[in-house]
């Protein structure tokens, strides 16, 4: 890992965080005085990924054109790190005609075929689809890979286990990425999951499994690099579980009354921690921190501006696109 890799990862994490922070602000801006989930310029459920940037950034640093990702209900960090156009994605979140899906999908259903990126709001159901994309790459003889992302809660869904087995038995170029943020809405991992690590579950299917502790972006980068090289070389699937952090609520509006470790959440924020370690190495100056932040601010503001100034679809458009 070079200094450039480190800086690029830091920059990407800051960019994603700025995005999530501004979306949060915008989401709540017009929902008062009586907070109403369906009101405002961004209506509906909103699952933000703040704190989980290391997972996306460590993996996507190794991806190239043609590689696929299936993301779950909390997709923004993987979308941005994978190169999904910020303007079109934001316009989709605002329900505009210029959005990735012309306003039909919304934040949980982002589809970007140019980048082979998709999401599903149904838990763990993106995993089989990633296996299918990997199957296509294998049959076409490319060295592309598919990354299937899911939370630790999703790993108790049948589709997770079926997908691991399928990928193993067909030797598919898939990388399963499990984001263990300790919580599935209000249910802690300890109450839902037998066994300590999904890396161990992977070995039950004969798949290499790695658990990355401490939300460590560099360890994630290393683990993902090895798994992706393996998959590209035709050596089959891997699983990486990262112990990450849900910095905010499950969705916006979640009061998190159930959450026992709320006081220490901010101390565990991975971005200031990474900045400090890069500064210690001499890889990051105060000026660079300010520049990177300013760059992110400008890019995100422009995307929000693009979205807000884009036209809305009309009621008649709802009848289009049922069939090809």
């Amino acid at each position: 890992m070079t200094e450039l890799d480190r800086l690029a990862m830091y920059r990407q994490m800051v960019r994603i965080r700025q995005y999530e922070a501004r979306i949060m602000q915008e989401y709540h801006a017009d929902k008062s005085p009586a907070w109403d989930i369906g009101a405002g310029l961004i209506p509906g459920e909103m699952h933000l990924s703040a704190g989980q940037e290391p997972a996306a950034v460590g993996v996507c640093a190794h991806l190239k054109k043609g590689d696929a990702i299936t993301a779950p209900h909390r997709p923004h960090h993987f979308a941005l790190a994978h190169g999904v156009d910020m303007n079109k994605m934001t316009a989709e979140i605002y329900g505009r005609e210029t959005g990735l899906c012309r306003g039909k999908g919304g934040h949980m259903h982002l589809f970007d075929p140019d980048n082979h990126f998709s999401c599903s709001g149904i838990i763990a159901q993106g995993l089989p689809v990633a296996c299918g994309q990997a199957l296509a790459f294998q049959r076409k003889g490319t060295d592309n890979v598919a990354v299937a992302v899911a939370g630790e809660g999703a790993a108790n869904q049948g589709a997770f286990h079926e997908s691991l087995n399928l990928a193993a038995v067909w030797n598919l170029p898939v990388i399963f990425v499990i984001e263990d943020n300790d919580w599935a809405i209000s249910v802690p991992r300890s109450a839902s999951t037998a066994g300590v690590s999904n890396a161990d579950r992977a070995s039950g299917y004969g798949i290499p499994g790695v658990r990355v502790e401490d939300n460590d972006v560099e360890a994630m980068f290393e683990a993902a690099g090895a798994a992706i090289d393996r998959a590209r070389a035709g050596e089959g699937p891997s699983l990486i579980e990262i112990h990450t952090l849900r910095l905010w609520g499950h969705f916006e509006g979640d009061a998190q009354a159930y959450r026992s470790e709320l006081e220490t959440v901010n101390e565990r924020d991975p971005i200031p921690k990474y900045a400090a370690s890069l500064q210690e190495l001499g890889d990051l100056t105060d000026d660079q921190i300010a520049d990177i932040q300013a760059e992110a601010d400008a890019e995100v503001d422009a995307a929000i501006e693009f979205a807000k100034s884009s036209p809305e679809p009309t009621a008649e458009d709802a009848l289009l696109h049922v069939f090809a």
Binding site: G105, M108, A184, Y258
Partner: protein
């Protein structure tokens, strides 16, 4: 139904939870399980305060394993317990439909009537707040189509409690489908009809009996769930314009109270069916068939229906409201029938 003394105004969500809690007090075999039904109280408030009262032994948070825990509910019911299981959104039926349709709904019949499955599967339905295609469906027609489960669809707090108690006491599997927009949640726009008078003591509302929610003489609206609230708003509005609308709240799809429907349509001679589910192969067609089989001559005007026009529920507000049965569309459809 009991002769009530004390009643207060509560939300539909609170009424449901109260019904479950009172049955838990009465019968130790009743327990609750599902995702976030414990400390959280159910994402849509259906288990509010139950965890505090009954604890984790009887109000059980599950892993995100719907096939597993719905199947476990079936097994527990077969052994004589009375589980109330929550599928958080009805849209998630896809991951557990085998347990619902091939097991929960068929075991009694397959066993020649020898095995009972006294379980309630409750689930949140409906759209209107931009939750898009995977979190906004109603799907009650799908469950009603498959034989072997009762399907109840409350529209107000009073029925929500009474139907819940009936569902728990029923020896059959009951799908209890509540509309998110009718729960009276503080964080979602609501019709004032989502809060209403509910007696404190336990009572039942019979499953299979529709209610005439408002009497009228010109047009019958046959509807269910949140669309009852919209239809009542429209009926009150049109009253002032000289159109007398009768609103029939089906309250359950299985069994379907065809008698109440036919009686009302026989009286008015004009019918509009309002359904937030998909249009084709569903409730609206079923009601048309009931009328056609009985006496098509009772209609003075051609049958009319308003439902989601066979597209997935889109995200953006103008798109979503383009396909939902809104008050405006209900009003226009009633006026068409009167033209």
């Amino acid at each position: 139904m009991s002769t009530t003394t004390e009643s207060r105004r509560v939300t539909t969500a609170k009424a449901m939870a109260e019904g479950i809690g009172q049955e838990m007090q009465r019968d130790p075999n009743v327990f609750v399980m599902g995702e976030d039904v414990g400390a959280y109280g159910g994402i849509f408030g259906s288990t509010t305060d139950l965890f505090g009262e009954f604890g984790p032994d009887r109000v059980i948070d599950t892993p995100i394993s719907e096939t597993g825990f719905i199947g476990a509910g079936i097994g527990a019911a077969v052994e004589g317990l009375r589980p109330v299981v929550e599928l958080m959104f009805v849209d998630f039926y896809g991951v557990c439909m085998d347990q619902i349709s091939n097991h929960m709904a068929k075991i009694h019949y397959e066993s020649g009537g020898n095995v009972k499955v006294p379980m309630v599967l409750m689930s949140a339905t409906g759209g209107g707040y931009s939750d898009a295609a995977q979190h906004s469906q109603c799907l009650w027609g799908t469950f009603a189509h498959l034989p072997g489960m009762k399907v109840v669809v409350p529209s107000n707090p009073y029925d929500a409690k009474g139907l819940m108690i009936s569902a728990i006491r029923d020896d059959n599997p009951v799908m209890y489908l509540f509309h998110k927009g009718g729960q009276g949640l503080v964080w979602m726009e609501k019709n004032p009809r989502s809060i209403g008078e509910v007696p404190e003591e336990p009572y039942t509302v019979p499953i299979g009996k529709a209610a005439v929610a408002k009497e009228g003489t010109d047009v019958t609206i046959v509807t269910l769930s949140l669309s009852v609230q919209h239809s009542l708003d429209v009926a009150e509005q049109l009253e002032g314009e000289g159109i007398s609308v009768e609103v029939v709240d089906l309250r359950s799809l299985v069994p379907l109270d065809t008698e109440t429907v036919l009686e009302s349509v026989g009286k008015t001679g004009r019918v509009l069916v309002v359904d937030e589910d998909y249009k084709s192969f569903g409730l609206t067609g079923e009601i048309a068939a009931v009328i056609a089989e009985n006496d098509p001559g009772m209609l003075k005007k051609p049958f009319s229906r308003l439902a989601v026009p066979d597209v997935p529920i889109p995200y953006a507000r103008p798109l979503e409201y383009g396909v939902l049965p809104t008050r405006e569309k209900i009003t226009a459809a009633v006026k068409d029938l009167m033209a």
